[in-house]
Amino acid sequence: MTTILFIEQVLNGLQFGVMLFLMAAGLTLVFGVMGLINLAHGSLYMIGAFAAATVSAATGNFVLGLVAALAAAAMAGAVVEIAVIRRLYRRDHLDQVLATFALILIFSEGTRWVFGSFPLYLDIPEMLSGPVTLPGGIEYPVYRLFIIVMGLAVAALLFWLIARTRLGIQIRAGEADREMIAALGIDISKLYTVVFALGAALAGMAGALVGAIQSVEVGMGEPVLILAFVTIIIGGIGSIKGAFVGALLVGLIDTLGRTMLPLVFGSFMADASAATTVGSALASMLIYILMAGVLIARPQGLFGAAA
């Protein structure tokens, strides 16, 4: 494998990783602050993608699409939190899983009803289309670089928000001790709605950004949701830092595994097609094997608090 191909794959892995981070960050925030496991997080990702595709197709403006994605996902998040989710905080995990699974069904079928079963396409804006030549002569799509930069910027913003702002203090207080935030005179139900909407907006943004390089369709959210779960198990639940490290690990290992394992097996197996088969089958399992390793060595995750 050439160095150029390798670097390209590393960049692809980074791009995948930062997207996963946007998903995992919202999930882990909501779990950390409210103790809620939310399966419908993938639906918010889908809503972001659909909003972006619809608005940018209507206006011809990608930025407007992106803004619409953030707004639509945040609004959907806030509405769902107020209508359903807040009844679940005191319930056990089974009820949370079932109710949010029910929400997936409602959102998915509802979207199918409005938009039909055919995928939508979100065009990459002119400014960001085409390749750019990186130092070392590597050609790489501008849009993917843009995603990496956006993802990293949002990650930095999120770390700043949690470390430095008033909302961040409230979030950390909520994670440490749910009784305490009431004692501090914080309006808990408002805080919960805001945190949930924030997580939803992050998911919606991920959906919109990825929507331009994949098709926008019903059911696009759940595979990403499950990868975000893998990320959280690896990183440790409730930890933004864990989500960040976990997401980059999953993104890089999955992407590199898929290109490299077939090559690795090809180097010593006589039958080329068998090597590709075994290599790609194994590659599809790689991150789950990593997750299994973490479950054995550190069941609370790399950055999770010890139980």
């Binding site: 089974l94 899983v97 029910a102 069904l105 079928e109 479950l295």
Partner: protein
């Protein structure tokens, strides 16, 4: 007699009587629907053991359902193509015998449940849910990327497998096979619920620390329950594959896991016949709502949401009241 016992009897008799009557009147489709109910109920009986008695919220039971399905698919695929699965130390050409297929399905899904259980039962709460979901997805991707057995498209088995003395292609006879296995599954879970093991399992759900202080290890109890649970669901997968004469990776999908869980919840968690009630309700909804709207799953979602928020006992809970068997 307790009310729940009467409901259970009605469900058992109803599930038998409807297809028999359909057989007499020649309504094949009703027999097929009933067979689906029996098979899905069996899958849910498996999950109910882990979820209802053990409180283990597995969102990855599709793994065992799929493995059971592929156990059938792979064995029959090799048999129908005269392509031996392995030739050493002896030639094994695959098989079309249901009895052999079931044993393989039970073993494979039991082994998978053992390995996945060993890993996931080290965690609890939200971690356990996410980890079981993830391992289910892992198997989904594994079979999608395995072209020999159909990859994304799955594979068809042209003729239904054989059972000694039964014409399995006759819908009513195949239904009866599934029905007997369902009743066996219910019997097993009934005995387990009342056994010392069942007591320890239910106690581990409610207060694991207390269970430890009387000298029982909750982890092992849960693992054993998880394995039995996976095996029963795996057997159901093998039957479903035979009903459809087709296996595909969607058997492993997270939607399948969710559906098996819905059956348990709609029927009533930890109720002996909850899975039967849930499966019957689900198939009826699919049949009725599916006729009204292509988006019928949205209505199932709304119903599920209402059950979770307002009617936690499920169907049998609403009909039989809160009391749970304690004999």
């Amino acid at each position: 007699m307790r009310r729940e016992t009467i409901i259970n009897a009605a469900l058992a008799i109803g599930l038998l009587a409807i297809p028999l009557w359909a057989h007499v009147t020649g309504e094949i489709f009703t027999i097929t629907l009933s067979t689906r109910v029996a098979i899905l109920a069996l899958a849910a009986v498996g999950l109910n053991l882990a979820l209802g008695l053990g409180g283990l919220i597995s969102f990855g039971h599709a793994a065992y359902f799929g493995l059971g399905g592929y156990a059938m698919g792979i064995l029959a695929f090799h048999a129908q193509n005269y392509d031996p699965i392995f030739t050493w130390p002896f030639v094994f050409a695959g098989t079309k015998q249901m009895l052999v297929i079931w044993v393989v399905a039970l073993i494979v899904s039991g082994l998978a449940a053992f390995v996945i259980g060993m890993l996931t039962l080290r965690t609890s709460g939200a971690y356990f849910i996410m980890a079981t979901l993830a391992f289910g997805q892992m198997l989904y991707y594994l079979f999608v990327s395995w072209p020999k057995y159909g990859g994304e498209d799955g594979m068809s088995i042209y003729l239904r497998n054989d059972f000694p003395g039964v014409n399995t292609l006759d819908p009513i006879q195949f239904f009866l096979i599934c029905y007997v296995l369902l009743m066996l599954g219910i019997f097993v879970s009934w005995r387990i619920a009342r056994s010392p093991f069942g007591l320890a399992l239910q106690a581990s759900r409610q207060n694991a620390e207390r269970v430890e202080t009387v000298g029982i290890t909750p982890f092992r109890i849960r693992l054993a329950a998880f394995v039995i649970s996976g095996m029963i669901t795996g057997l159901a997968g093998a039957l479903m594959a035979d009903l459809n004469r087709f296996v595909g990776p969607t058997m492993f999908s997270w939607q399948t896991s969710g559906e098996i869980m819905i059956l348990v919840i709609l029927g009533g968690v930890a109720r002996l016949y909850g899975p039967v009630a849930g499966a019957a309700l689900f198939i009826l909804l699919e049949h009725w709502l599916g006729g009204v709207s292509d988006y019928w799953l949205a209505f199932v979602g709304a119903l599920l949401l209402l059950v979770v928020l307002f009617a936690r006992g499920g169907l049998i809970g609403s009909l039989a009241g809160r009391e749970v068997a304690h004999d």
